[in-house]
C-alpha cells in the first residue's frame, strides 16, 4: 500500500472509529480535527505503529472567540521522516479550564512547545512536568495572544491615538 494521505486517514479511522471529527487537505497536507480526549492515544498510535510519525515538528495554540464551543485550539504537526509525509492534528476546547493531555511522555521536545502554548494562550497541559511561563516576563500576569488583550503596549504615553487613527 502506498503511503498517502488517504492511507493514513483510513488507518486512523480504522483504529479510532469515533475520533476524527473532520479532515481536509489544505495545500496537500492531511489535516485532522480530532476529539480532545483521544489526542494522546492517537499520537501514541501514530508514533509507535507502522505509521511511523516519529517527529513532532510543532505545537501551537489558536484562539477563536467567535466559536464559544471551540474557542481555544491546539495544533500539532507530525512528520514521518522516512516517508517524508506530514500530518496536522487539531483539537479544540471551550475557554473555561482549557486543558489537554501533555505529549511530553511521547516526545521530549513537546516540553518547551507546550510551555510556550501555555505562556501565550493559557492552555494547561495535563501531565506536563514543569508547566511554567517560558518566553514572556514571568510577572506579565496574563496570556498575551488571547484576543481580548490589545497588541499595543498600554503604558505608552508618547503616541497620540488621534494621529494614528485609533
Amino acid at each position: 500500500m502506498e503511503f498517502t494521505n488517504n492511507f493514513i486517514l483510513e488507518a486512523i479511522t480504522r483504529e479510532f472509529p469515533e475520533t476524527v471529527i473532520s479532515s481536509s487537505e489544505p495545500y496537500g497536507m492531511l489535516t485532522l480535527e480530532i476529539k480532545k480526549q483521544d489526542l494522546k492515544k492517537v499520537v501514541h498510535h501514530m508514533k509507535d505503529s507502522s505509521l511511523g510519525f516519529n517527529f513532532l515538528t510543532d505545537i501551537c495554540g489558536i484562539h477563536h472567540p467567535e466559536t464559544p464551543e471551540k474557542e481555544l485550539g491546539v495544533i500539532y504537526h507530525l512528520h514521518n521522516l522516512v516517508e517524508n509525509l506530514r500530518v496536522r492534528l487539531k483539537v479544540f476546547m471551550p475557554f473555561e479550564n482549557a486543558e489537554v493531555d501533555s505529549l511530553v511522555e511521547l516526545f521530549a521536545g513537546a516540553n518547551w512547545m507546550e510551555r510556550e502554548t501555555f505562556d501565550f494562550y493559557g492552555i494547561k497541559f495535563k501531565g506536563h512536568p514543569d508547566l511554567r511561563v517560558i518566553l514572556n516576563d514571568p510577572g506579565l500576569g496574563y496570556h498575551p495572544m488571547l484576543k481580548q488583550y490589545p497588541l499595543e503596549d498600554g503604558t505608552r504615553t508618547d503616541k497620540d491615538d488621534v494621529m494614528f487613527g485609533r
Binding site: N136, D137, L140, Y149, P150, D153, R156, D158
Partner: protein, 185 residues
C-alpha cells in the same frame, strides 16, 4: 606622495587656563574632565540591528578609537559609557538595570536607535517602551538603525558632557534624587 597627506594631530586642546614660561595653571575640574572625555570605556549592550551598526562604528572605517573609546569593557565595573544598542524587552529590563547599577561612577548612558530610545516600531506587550523607563539616559541617538556617524555624534555628545561635568555633580542631592526616581540604590 600626494599633496593632501593627512595631518595627524595627537594633541587635544588644553583646557582654558593661564600659561607662562614653564607653567600652566587650570582648575582640576577641567583637567579631569578632559582626561575622562578622551578615555571613555564603552560597555556595548547590543541586542539587535543597532548592534551591527555599532560594530561598524568600532571598525577601522569609522573608528571609535579616534574618540578615546577603543577599549570595550565587557565588565560593567570598568565601563564609563553604557551603550544600549537595540530592542530591550520587558524581560530584559531588570537585567539592563542591574548592569547599570554595577557600573562605577561617573557613568553615562547612550540609547542608540529608536528601540532603545522609545520602543521604536515595537509597540507591543513584550517590549520596553524606551530604556529611560528603567535607567537614566544621557544621550539619545535617533535612527532605525542609526548610521555609524550618528553613533559617533552621540559619543561626542557624551564626551562633551564628561568634559564639562562638575566633579561634584555625582554627590549632589539632585543626582541622588534622580537615581532614586528610578529605584536605583
Amino acid at each position: 606622495m600626494s599633496e593632501n597627506t593627512p595631518k595627524i594631530n595627537t594633541n587635544a586642546p588644553a583646557p582654558p587656563g593661564f600659561e607662562g614660561e614653564g607653567f600652566f595653571a587650570t582648575n582640576l575640574n577641567n583637567l579631569i574632565g578632559m582626561a575622562r572625555s578622551l578615555s571613555l570605556w564603552p560597555l556595548p549592550f547590543a541586542t539587535s540591528c543597532c548592534g551591527i551598526e555599532f560594530m561598524a562604528t568600532m571598525g577601522p572605517n569609522y573608528d571609535l578609537a579616534r574618540f578615546g573609546g577603543e577599549r570595550m569593557s565587557f565588565s560593567p565595573r570598568q565601563a564609563d559609557v553604557l551603550m544600549v544598542c537595540g530592542t530591550i524587552s520587558k524581560k530584559l529590563g531588570p537585567i539592563l538595570k542591574e548592569v547599570y547599577t554595577q557600573m562605577a561612577e561617573p557613568k553615562w548612558v547612550i540609547a542608540v536607535g529608536a528601540c532603545a530610545s522609545s520602543g521604536g516600531i515595537f509597540d507591543s506587550y513584550s517590549v520596553l517602551q524606551g530604556i529611560d523607563r528603567v535607567i537614566p539616559v544621557d544621550v539619545y541617538v535617533p535612527g532605525c538603525p542609526p548610521r555609524p556617524e550618528q553613533i559617533l555624534e552621540g559619543f561626542m555628545q557624551v564626551q562633551a558632557l564628561a568634559e564639562s561635568e562638575s566633579l561634584r555633580r555625582r554627590d549632589l542631592p539632585q543626582y541622588k534624587e534622580l537615581l532614586e526616581s528610578f529605584n536605583i540604590n
